[in-house]
């Protein structure tokens, strides 16, 4: 069964990655990042069961905490940028370049 979970995890991770790369709405990009993090968590939990080891669940727990903090700060940044530029597109914030 572990193999199945892992392949599902890989699929979700890749879909999230594609989303990050093709979507321009910053909020959606963020959602895709969350999706990738969740895919990782799934793999951790699957490995925890595979090896009978609680630490896989512990690290999934920490991932959730970090993801929560990241979402808070990231969304605050999106709001700040939106306030000044009236846009939530990641392509619009491209001034830092050559």
């Amino acid at each position: 069964m572990t193999t199945h979970y892992l392949i599902l995890s890989a699929l979700l991770f890749a879909i999230g990655g594609i989303g990050v790369l093709v979507r321009r709405n910053a909020i959606v990009v963020f959602m895709c990042v969350e999706l990738m993090l969740n895919a990782c968590n799934l793999a951790f939990v699957a490995f925890a069961r595979q090896h009978g080891n609680i630490e896989g669940q512990v690290i999934a727990f920490f991932v959730m905490i970090v993801a929560a903090a990241e979402v808070v700060v990231g969304l605050a940044i999106i709001v700040t940028i939106f306030r000044t530029r009236r846009s939530a597109s990641v392509d619009d914030a491209s001034l830092l370049k050559y």
Binding site: G17, V20, L21, V22, R24, V90, D91, A93, S94, L95, L96, K97, Y98
Partner: protein
């Protein structure tokens, strides 16, 4: 007789003979470090140090006279300079003490004279500092007991000479002349340095006491090479052909400098070097010695010819200096008999040439620093002391019977004549030309019409300047007879440079001497016809091709320019071109390549976060692929 063995330090005054060098060095240090605070009494300190050095030299001399001739060569070790290679020490022997007495004696007189001559110069203190520095360096040169210490003194006098020629550095001509002297001397110094290297590799030592006895062990070729390289050094310092060009320009320095450094002492260092190394590297019949005599004869003629055409009194005397040092070189190439005459002429020349230069300085002092002899004339009544002393010096240099030059120069001519008739007759011809150009100087300066400007008021110089002149004139008059008659100097120098098998008998009247006298009289007479009886034009006439030839220093500068300066400039331009195109091209090309590549590469930085994310993701995919490939292998 071979030179005597070098004994160890006998103590007494000789034990502290280093004071000779240390005292003027201290004076120079105090004056240079003390700065303007020492302006008021600086010149007195300078004179005091020179005199003190003279006193020490005299005491050393008298102590030495108390020894038997074979014990008169002693070494005074000071400290291990380069351990195992060169122990710094002083070699006190008749040769070095003769030089020390000349340097400190004439040096002291010129110091005293300079008090008056430089009284109007705001930088008189610095002048005395440099003079003291020169005296110290020159004494180190002649007293050193090894080639390395000699070289330090050699460079020291070069430095002092440079500083003093360029003493009035605000004059571009003086600054240029100083630079020229330095550069030309460098060529000679290079030769000396190489010679020292060869000496060290051949004999394993640079000390005179170890090298000279072993000289016979080296091959003839090595000895000749060392001799020729030493001669190159001597040519640079003594303004001998082909390195003569700096001396005439060096007259840009203050006149006491010309008298002390560029007439009496420093320029004779080359003669010292040849005589000092003579027994080892210049045996009377070797190739090196032959070259020395040829250089000497060529220079004595060249200097004399240049002297005939110069209207600048100091340059005329500078030509004369070249010529007289040519005589010394000629003598130094003739073996032990010649050494004695070379040194005798060197000493008397030190006196009468210093006398002439200081006399010229006295004239200039009274004539608002005018140096053009065509602007002089009839000064004998206005400057009686200067005139009389100058006249004595003049008679001494042309070899007037019973005055110094008569004995020393005729000694050289007769020795040369015995050695090789051609050399002898050329030397006789040089003496004739000397008679002409020196008479010309005297007639143009002290006789004839008064040709100076209205606002010039010639006057006799103060006593502080005339007394040194009187002392020097006295020396010029009698020293030659004292040194040469009954071979006094030759016997005295014997322990240092060796004695000939049989001492030459000096005839007060000899056929060669008479011929020389006749030629000198003819030269003087011709000078009287041209410059005494006729009026001297204020503007120099164009003259013949020969006059131009002489006026332009026998095209020595033109030759240097054509042979060295222009090829050097071409080489420089080539190097600049290569640097601009080759080196810079490479460097700039590399920079441009990197810059261009970077300019293109930076386009990757689009600013789109999604592009960056894509590159990260592709990288991750590649890593996963790599892991997969490696993991399954």
């Amino acid at each position: 007789m071979e030179p005597a063995e070098i004994l160890s330090n006998p103590g007494g005054v000789i034990g502290v003979s280093w004071l000779m060098i240390a005292l003027p060095l201290l004076g120079a240090a105090v004056l240079l470090l003390g700065g303007r605070r020492t302006d008021k009494w600086g010149h007195f300190l300078g004179v005091l140090m020179a005199l003190a050095s003279f006193v020490v030299a005299a005491l050393v001399f008298f102590q030495m006279l108390g020894f038997a001739p074979a014990e008169r060569r002693v070494s005074v070790p000071l400290y291990a300079f380069i351990p195992g290679v060169a122990d710094l020490g002083l070699l006190i022997d008749p040769l070095s003490i003769s030089f020390a007495l000349l340097i400190t004696g004439v040096g002291s007189l010129i110091h005293i004279y300079s008090i008056g001559y430089m009284s109007h110069d705001t930088d008189r203190r610095r002048f005395f500092a440099y003079l003291n520095l020169f005296v110290a360096a020159m004494l180190l040169l002649v007293l050193a007991d090894n080639y390395v210490a000699l070289f330090i003194g050699w460079e020291g006098v070069g430095l002092a000479s440079y500083l003093l020629i360029g003493f009035w550095q605000f004059k571009p001509s003086a600054a240029t002349a100083a630079k020229k002297a330095f550069v030309v001397n460098r060529v000679g110094d290079f030769g000396l340095l190489i010679a020292i290297f060869i000496v060290f590799t051949t004999f394993g030592s640079v000390a005179f006491g170890e090298v000279f006895p072993k000289a016979g062990e080296a091959s003839q070729g090595t000895l000749t090479a060392i001799g020729l390289l030493l001669l190159l050094g001597a040519c640079g310092k003594s303004a001998q052909l082909p390195l003569q060009s700096w001396l005439l320009d060096a007259m840009e320095g203050p006149t006491p400098v010309s008298a002390l450094i560029h007439a009496a002492t420093m320029v004779t260092a080359g003669v010292y070097l040849v005589v000092r190394s003579g027994a080892a590297f210049f045996p009377g019949d070797g190739t090196a010695s032959l070259v020395v005599t040829i250089v000497g004869v060529a220079t004595l003629l060249a200097g004399a010819i240049i002297g005939t055409a110069k209207d600048d009194i100091k340059k005329a005397l500078a030509g004369s200096t070249m010529s007289q040092i040519g005589y010394m070189m000629l003598a130094a190439g003739l073996g032990p008999v010649g050494y004695a005459f070379a040194i005798a002429h060197l000493i008397t020349h030190g006196f009468f040439k210093a006398n002439l230069f200081l006399g010229a300085g006295s004239v200039m002092h009274g004539m608002n620093d005018q140096v053009d002899m065509r602007r002089y004339g009839g000064l004998r009544t206005l400057m009686p002391v200067t005139f009389i002393t100058f006249l004595v010096g003049y008679l001494a240099i042309i070899g007037f019977p019973l005055l110094s030059g008569y004995f020393t120069k005729d000694g050289i001519i007769e020795t040369a004549m015995e050695h090789n008739a051609i050399l002898g007759w050329l030397a006789v011809a040089g003496a004739g030309i000397t008679g002409f150009y020196m008479s010309r100087v005297v007639f143009m300066t002290f006789f004839g019409e008064r040709r100076w400007d209205k606002d010039v008021h010639p006057h006799e110089s103060p006593a502080v300047m005339t007394w040194p002149l009187i002392v020097l004139a006295a020396g010029s008059a009698v020293l030659g007879a004292y040194l040469v008659l009954s071979n006094r100097l030759m016997v005295f120098l014997g322990p240092a440079v060796g004695l000939p098998e049989e001492l030459p008998a000096f005839h007060v009247v000899s056929p060669v001497g008479l011929a020389t006298l006749a030629l000198v009289a003819a030269g003087a007479g011709y000078a009287w016809l041209k410059y005494g009886r006729q009026e001297v034009p204020v503007v120099a006439p164009r003259g013949s091709f020969l006059t131009t030839f002489a006026r332009r220093d026998l095209y020595g500068d033109a030759l240097n320019e054509a042979l060295f300066m222009r090829p050097g400039q071409w080489l420089t331009r080539l190097a600049v071109w290569f640097d601009n195109r080759g080196v810079d091209g490479l460097v700039n090309g590399l920079a441009a390549t990197i810059g261009g590549t970077s300019g293109r590469l930076r386009r990757i930085q689009t600013g789109y976060v999604r592009s960056y994310a894509l590159s990260i993701f592709v990288g991750a995919a590649i890593l996963a692929g790599a892991w997969f490939v490696v993991g399954t292998l």
